[in-house]
Amino acid sequence: MIEAAVVVTGVTKTFPVPFKRRSVLAVRDLSLRVDAGQVYGLLGPNGSGKSTTLKIILGLVAPTRGKAEIFARDSTEVASREAVGFLPENPYFPKYLTGAETLRFYGKLCGLSSRALTKKIQELLELVGLTSAGDRRLGGYSKGMLQRIGLAQALVNEPRLVVLDEPTAGVDPVGSREIRDLILDLKKRGITVLLSSHLLDQVQEVCDRVGILANGELVSEGAVNELLAVENQTEVVFEAGSEELTRQIEALINTAGGRLIDCRKSRKTLERLFLDVTLK
């Protein structure tokens, strides 16, 4: 059986409203499992409980009921975080530190020695494409660069699980593409990734499995390919075909008892167009 990186069992979280008797329900009876090596996307509209769920998994917030585990360790245990790297939504890392100093600080928190860190910092800066900006203070970093240094600090302890809260929020399409590539790179190296997002196209592209939250409840969950497959429909894309060929295919479908639903010129996405013209 595949090892579980994250197991959430029957988690409910309510936040009391100060000076009132009622409380706000953030997450209701949530159970989910993320297998080791998977890229799992937690989706949902704003206020659906995504960030609270991630915080519970990271032990930053205690569940009202239920429990969360990381590699079979209760996430309320500080030691469970040894295997984890976390990038919060819109992080503002210390502006007064340089990129390299930031990584050194977080590396020391993970118990890495100064000697090991010197080499590690260079590797990480290279990985996230910030080698030339390593000596600059974060105050002068762009949003995309901050996100990438955030990802580098999340990787400083060689985590087995990386948790990313809205990793591409506010980042331009080029930066967003780079972060997506980094996530795919992590997957290749066998690192489990749990991310939350509401940018559905990106999630579809990188995630193996998704869970959709609405009003604190998990309303849908499964493998991306299975969830998105439309029963009884097949897409055929071909190039260099004449109009005659298209007509023949339509006729063939009709003869075989099928029904042609749509037939149109393929279009590239707006993102692809943006990347093509800006990266020339």
């Binding site: 936040f15 915080k55 990271l58 032990g59 930053l60 917030v61 205690a62 500080v78 030691a79 975080r81 040894e82 984890v84 790297g85 976390f86 990038l87 919060p88 939504e89 819109n90 992080p91 503002y92 890392f93 210390p94 007064y96 530190l97 100093e101 600080f105 977080y106 020391k108 928190l109 993970c110 118990g111 890495l112 090991a116 860190l117 080499k119 590690k120 590797e123 990480l124 990985l127 955030g150 600090q153 999340a154 302890n157 060689e158 948790v163």
Partner: protein, 299 residues
């Protein structure tokens, strides 16, 4: 990438992690240019020495010590409160606290590291202010000795020696150091109190206001207690109330040893040790209270 795995077993308490947080806090405060407050201190010293030109030597030294120790006390206290009050709200607002606590860092270590960073800042500031103050005192003493030598050149040696000795006695006395140490300890206590208040405060301004409030109560409570106990036949209710106030609010007047130092009176060792122990006790107690609240806090 080459694997550089952290130690296989997690340490429940790590001095390395605390040192990393403390040095990061000190770097933050240094790069925020809080040391500029020391320039202000230097200006106070220079300004006061200009004003003292018309006083006699003995008066001048007394006033110089009075102003310097008073300014040191105010500056270190202000630095302790203002520098500490911004730390937790700022880290929470910037979500830095999430990235730190998502690493294997216990909350107690986070708070201790932050506090130690501020205490380091206070120690450096106190050292620099003391150096400035002692350098000025030394140079004024030197000038006074030279002037006395000139003025009393024709008088008998015994008289000259006595005059010079009197100048030396009124400048440096061994109680300056305990006096300065107590000022530092008071600032440590205030930093710890501020970090405690900021664990449940809703804003930075709330933390500063409450800490300043406690600061004044701390300074007034000793006087108020004496007045109350002398003027009224204190019943059990009043006594309990005063005991609770005394427990919650440190008697900061006890840390005011500057008057004795200025007057040249010796600070008995027992009094110094008692005051130092009280400062350390409150610093630790407030940190423990802060940990208790911060550990249960939803981030």
């Amino acid at each position: 990438m080459n694997p550089v795995r952290a130690g296989a077993s997690h340490k429940a308490f790590s001095l390395d992690r605390i040192a990393a947080i403390a040095s990061n806090t000190l770097t933050e405060l240094t790069r925020l240019k809080v040391f500029y407050v020391l320039l202000l201190f230097a200006c106070v010293l220079i300004g006061s020495s200009v004003l003292m030109a018309r006083l006699s030597f003995q008066q001048e030294f007394q006033v110089l010590k009075d102003i310097s120790l008073g300014a040191m006390s105010i500056f270190t206290s202000l630095l302790a409160i203002v520098a500490t009050a911004r730390m937790l709200p700022q880290d929470t607002e910037d979500r830095i606290v999430y990235t730190i606590l998502a690493k294997p860092v216990p909350r107690f270590e986070y708070l201790l590291g932050k506090l130690l960073g501020v205490l380091l800042l206070l120690a450096i500031s106190t050292l620099i202010m003391s150096a400035l103050f002692l350098a000025l005192l030394y140079s004024r003493e030197h000038a006074a000795l030279a002037a006395t030598n000139r003025q009393m050149a024709g008088l008998p040696q015994e008289q000259l020696h006595a005059a010079l000795q009197s100048i030396r006695d009124s400048t440096f006395n061994p109680d300056l150091l305990p006096g300065i140490s107590v000022i530092f300890l008071k600032a440590c206590l205030l930093a710890s109190l501020t970090i405690f208040i900021s664990t449940f405060a809703t804003s930075q301004i709330f933390t500063v206001v409450v800490t300043v409030f406690v600061y004044f109560i701390g300074h007034l409570q000793g006087t108020a207690r004496e007045f109350w106990l002398q003027g009224h036949s204190a019943g059990w209710l009043a006594r309990t109330f005063l005991a609770v106030v005394a427990l919650l609010f440190p008697d900061l007047q006890l840390f005011n040893l500057a008057d004795e130092v200025v007057a040249g009176a010796a600070i008995p060792l027992a009094i110094f040790l008692k005051t130092a122990a009280l400062g350390a006790f409150y610093t630790v107690i407030y940190l423990l209270f802060a940990t208790a609240i911060f550990s249960a806090k939803e981030l």
